[in-house]
């Protein structure tokens, strides 16, 4: 009897979790299948009455002919969407790689070795986690105007690194600290410190490294604040700023919803990858 009760409870809890997660998503993404006429309806429809995939064609600049012969024209923002997709992929890939190169040795050193002034240096890095983007935005903006970096991918990449590096360092320190203490054994086997790090620690901690990569990817893929100010309306426009143009004088909520769905595809793919590895992570206090 009590087993049955607890089963009911756990199913109920699962249902609550799924509703919490999916309801907001559903409520917005259903717009991608609505016609402009249905979107203008009040009260808002609970579900698409005549679902149409037109918006998914339109955002790539393709016309779509509806069953009643009305043609839904391709969006004039298609160029931006496509360019934004490319730029976002470039920025995210570069940021991810650079972040890993920078962060792996740093986190390793802080996690495994003792040396003077370690905590002070560590604190300086963690301070960077606390920096609000709106605060560094001003200096970056003023600086970029003078250096000619505003509206460039390089500029955006540099600025995104200021978010990913401190955060991922924080995560990886805890992870590296929990790995088995193998340095001494490795040194007896004749490995140099560099070799120990590259050939033993990194492979051993690869799931942590993978997760760090995914997190860096997500942070830069979703970055909007810097992009809004630094590359909006330029050829270095990223996807989040490109899609933000659908809600203005000629509202296209269905296009926006379709575009948001599109932006979810790469993260959803990595999420599938992430969920297997992240359960193996163990984060503990980076400042002892």
């Amino acid at each position: 009897m009590s087993i049955r009760l607890s089963t009911i409870w756990s199913w109920l809890a699962l249902a609550v979790v799924l509703i919490w997660t999916l309801l907001p998503l559903y409520w917005f993404l259903k717009n991608s299948l609505l016609t402009p006429d249905e979107i203008a309806r009040f009260p808002p429809p609970l579900y698409p009455l005549e679902p149409t995939p037109a918006a998914f064609f339109n955002i790539f600049g393709l016309d779509y002919e509806m069953a009643d012969g009305i043609v839904r024209r391709g969006s004039g923002q298609a160029n931006q969407i496509i360019r934004g997709l490319g730029n976002s992929l470039i920025v995210s890939a570069v940021v991810t790689v650079v972040t890993l190169f920078v962060v792996l040795p740093l986190a390793y050193v802080f996690a495994r070795l003792d040396f003077p002034h370690k905590n002070k240096l560590l604190f300086a890095i963690l301070l960077a986690v606390a920096l609000p983007p709106v605060s560094t935005l001003i200096p970056f903006y003023a600086m970029y105007v003078r250096l000619g970096l505003s509206g460039t991918l390089v500029g955006l990449i540099i600025v995104t690194l200021t978010i990913t590096i401190p955060f991922v360092t924080w995560m990886l320190i805890g992870y590296f600290r929990n790995l088995p203490q193998v340095e001494r054994l490795a040194r007896i086997d004749g490995f140099s410190r560099f070799e120990t790090f590259l050939k033993i620690i990194v492979p051993q901690g690869r799931s942590g490294v993978a997760v760090a990569a995914v997190i860096a990817f997500l942070f830069s893929w979703n970055e909007y604040t810097y992009a809004l100010m630094l590359v909006n309306g330029t050829t270095a426009n990223t996807l989040p700023t490109a899609i933000s143009g659908f809600l203005f004088q000629h509202p296209e909520p269905s296009h926006l919803a379709a575009a948001v769905a599109l932006t979810m595809v790469p993260p959803a793919l990595v999420a599938f990858f992430l969920q297997r590895h992240i359960a193996e992570m163990n984060l503990v206090d980076p400042v002892r």
Partner: protein, 444 residues
């Protein structure tokens, strides 16, 4: 001295030459450089199609994209930064500031400027001129804040056209009548959260009531605090309808998109909207009030304000050949194409009933036909033209360098006034003070 004269002569000759080249070579792009064209989001498929036509027929290399967020602020930063930007949309209130910043090249630089000016209505030419120069070419002209009425709901409540309110006072009185008839929120005010939202709502209501925010030439503050003054009555009525719950609170967080969708859903009777959106609201595939979207006619008091936009050319560093291409494209896009047709202007009239600053667009047969088909009723054409003809332009606060600074300050001040039940006299005095401060800041 002699050197300067020579330099001027050389510059003049160069300008003549480039003008001649433009005239000879027509509007075909020649430098092979990319021309960057930026604007806010409005029917981007049409814009892209226009640009494609130029690129195909005139060998152009024009790159079009939209800029989102706080458009004036972001554009200003792009201009300041000398970003890749050649032709852009702007409201006249921004154009003057950009000109003072030295970031734009006035339309006077075009070789066919005399023909362009001759085709423009004098009042529009005046609105778009700053310090004696025409700044840009016509994108659209409209009355923003024309009072839309949803006839279906209006008739259901037992009213007829004869009951149409003649001015703001009468309108507010009618809202209370409607509430007594069971409609709690009949009015969707222009208090939205765009940069032109609640601040413009104040600007136009003051002008409609016969007031002036600032002097058109000296820009000194003109609002008065007496209880019969336009500003006082405006704020008094705002306070009243807000405190009595006649206004849906969420309108303060609306963007343009939500504002249009909310009115198109048919929930409201009155809303000050864009004149050309009569076409949008009368479209079956976009609106729940298609065939019922009408407007209050001019009955002695104007409605809204003259909202317009121009295509500006930037003055960023480019080669002369590149700059000539910018001029060619701007001229093709903002005035006549290679066949002498105001292609883009006419197309906007046909697509969305956007009015133009050019007589050749507005006075054509096609324009008359289009207006007829876009409106709910035959007599609405007269109402549209009547309201449009009487629309005021706030030169005092727009044709001035601090226009957008004041606008953004006013937006926040008014939002707080409404929400925190602010003091009317104090608010008016604060507005006057802000204008005086801005005048001092820029030495006006």
């Amino acid at each position: 001295m002699k050197l300067r004269v020579t330099a001027m002569a050389v510059t003049g000759a160069l300008m003549l030459m480039s003008g001649a080249a433009l005239a000879e070579g027509g509007l075909e792009a020649q430098s092979g450089e990319t021309v960057f064209f930026r604007g806010w989001q409005y029917k981007t498929d049409i814009v892209q199609d226009n640009v494609d036509r130029y690129n195909n027929e005139q060998g152009g290399n024009v790159d079009y994209a939209t800029v989102t967020g706080d458009y004036p602020a972001i554009m200003e930063q792009n201009l300041m930064a000398g970003a890749e930007l050649d032709v852009l949309y702007a409201n006249p209130s921004q154009a003057g500031r950009y000109f003072d910043g030295g970031w734009i090249m006035p339309a006077e630089a075009l070789p066919n400027i005399d023909a362009i000016k001759a085709d423009m209505y004098p009042n529009i030419l005046d609105a778009w001129s700053y310090k004696g120069q025409l700044l840009g070419l016509s994108y659209f002209v409209s009355t923003r804040g024309v009072m839309h009425v949803n006839l279906k709901k209006y008739y259901e409540l037992g009213y007829s056209d004869a009951d149409f309110p003649a001015d703001w006072d009468a309108l507010y009185d009618q809202l209370y009548e409607m509430r007594d008839k069971g409609l709690d929120q009949p009015f969707l005010p222009h208090w939205i959260n765009e940069w032109y939202g609640i601040s413009w709502a104040f600007d136009f209501e003051v002008m409609n009531r016969g007031g002036q925010v600032a002097h058109p030439d000296t820009h000194e503050p003109l609002l008065t605090t007496d209880a019969d003054g336009a500003a006082y009555k405006t704020l008094e009525d705002w306070k009243r309808i807000w405190n009595d719950g006649l206004v849906p609170e969420e309108v303060l967080t609306y963007n343009e998109s939500s504002y249009i969708d909310a009115y198109a859903s048919g929930r409201y009777v009155f809303s000050p909207q864009q004149l050309y959106d009569l076409e949008t609201f009368n479209r079956e595939d976009r609106s729940q009030i298609a065939g019922h979207a009408s407007l209050l006619p001019y009955q002695g008091q104007s409605w809204g304000l003259l909202d317009s936009a121009v295509y500006l050319m930037t003055s960023r560093e480019r080669s002369d050949g590149h700059t000539d291409d910018v001029k060619r494209f701007a001229s093709w896009y903002g005035y006549q194409d290679q066949t002498g047709n105001v292609f883009v202007g006419n197309r906007w009239m046909q697509e969305s009933m956007l009015f133009s600053g050019y007589k050749s667009v507005m006075e054509s047969e096609a324009a008359a036909e289009r207006m007829k088909s876009a409106l709910a009723r035959e007599q609405d054409i007269q109402a549209v033209l009547g309201v449009y003809a009487a629309t005021p332009y706030p030169k005092g606060i727009w044709s001035v360098v601090w226009a957008e600074e004041f606008n953004s300050w006013l937006k926040e001040t008014l939002q707080e006034f409404v929400q925190d039940d602010g003091d009317i006299v104090e608010t008016i005095e604060a507005i006057n003070e802000e204008i005086a401060d801005l005048n001092k800041k820029y030495g006006l």
